[in-house]
Symmetry: C2
Subunit: 125 residues, 2 copies
């Protein structure tokens, strides 16, 4: 079992091409023994954004604070507290903070993908 | 893709032996096309509790509001906003509201289990 407090978990700067002003707390991941999926909390500073990218695994997201928008494919949609999203595999997406306070959300991913052969660990899980 | 607001999702009364005062919103589940895991929000009323039970799949939990305790195995631990838990498979557990306001938490489960043979759908996914 794992039991911790969210504010005990370090918020690490996300360093990827196309990222601006984003930190991530890995709340529950492979090192905790998570067998199937990982829980992360992202904080995007005002004007910041995650990369516009895609990958062959899904996200499940719950917005906890702030205001922003998500681009999925060609379309953008507003985000605020209580927004819930399933971003399917292989859909281009980006989260952007459009407000003046941090945009914070929980983002779940599977811990592995491409399991038709040797499973690959999902980055950030 | 799925995009909704948490307050648009119906809060259904959880009817199971050993449950008292619990509703569940299925935020993202199999019907949304979730391929690996489901996101649910539980609300436990003051004095209420989930069943003391176990099952062969895990929970990942984030407490959003209220005060309570979780029993895992023989031990109980306090819960409050920002508590993060991994309840591993096959560990007896129960969530109890010990405060005077609703205890609210996100609880993730895999969408299927027992996948060594024909996968079984996880209840409430």
């Amino acid at each position: 079992m794992t039991l911790k407090r969210i504010d005990e978990v370090a918020a690490d700067t996300v360093r990827m091409d196309g990222v601006e002003g984003v930190t991530m707390r890995l709340l529950i991941g492979r090192e905790d023994g998570a067998p199937n999926f990982a829980m992360r909390q992202f904080t995007v500073q005002p004007g910041g954004h995650t990369p516009l990218h895609q990958h062959n695994y899904e996200h499940e997201v719950l917005v906890q604070g702030g205001f922003g928008e998500v681009q999925m494919g060609e379309q953008s949609h507003p985000l605020t507290v209580g927004s819930v999203l399933l971003v399917p595999a292989n859909l281009t997406h980006q989260f952007r903070n459009t407000g003046d306070e941090p945009l914070q959300f929980i983002c779940m991913v599977p811990v592995s993908f491409d399991c038709s052969g040797q499973c690959q660990p999902v980055p950030g899980s």
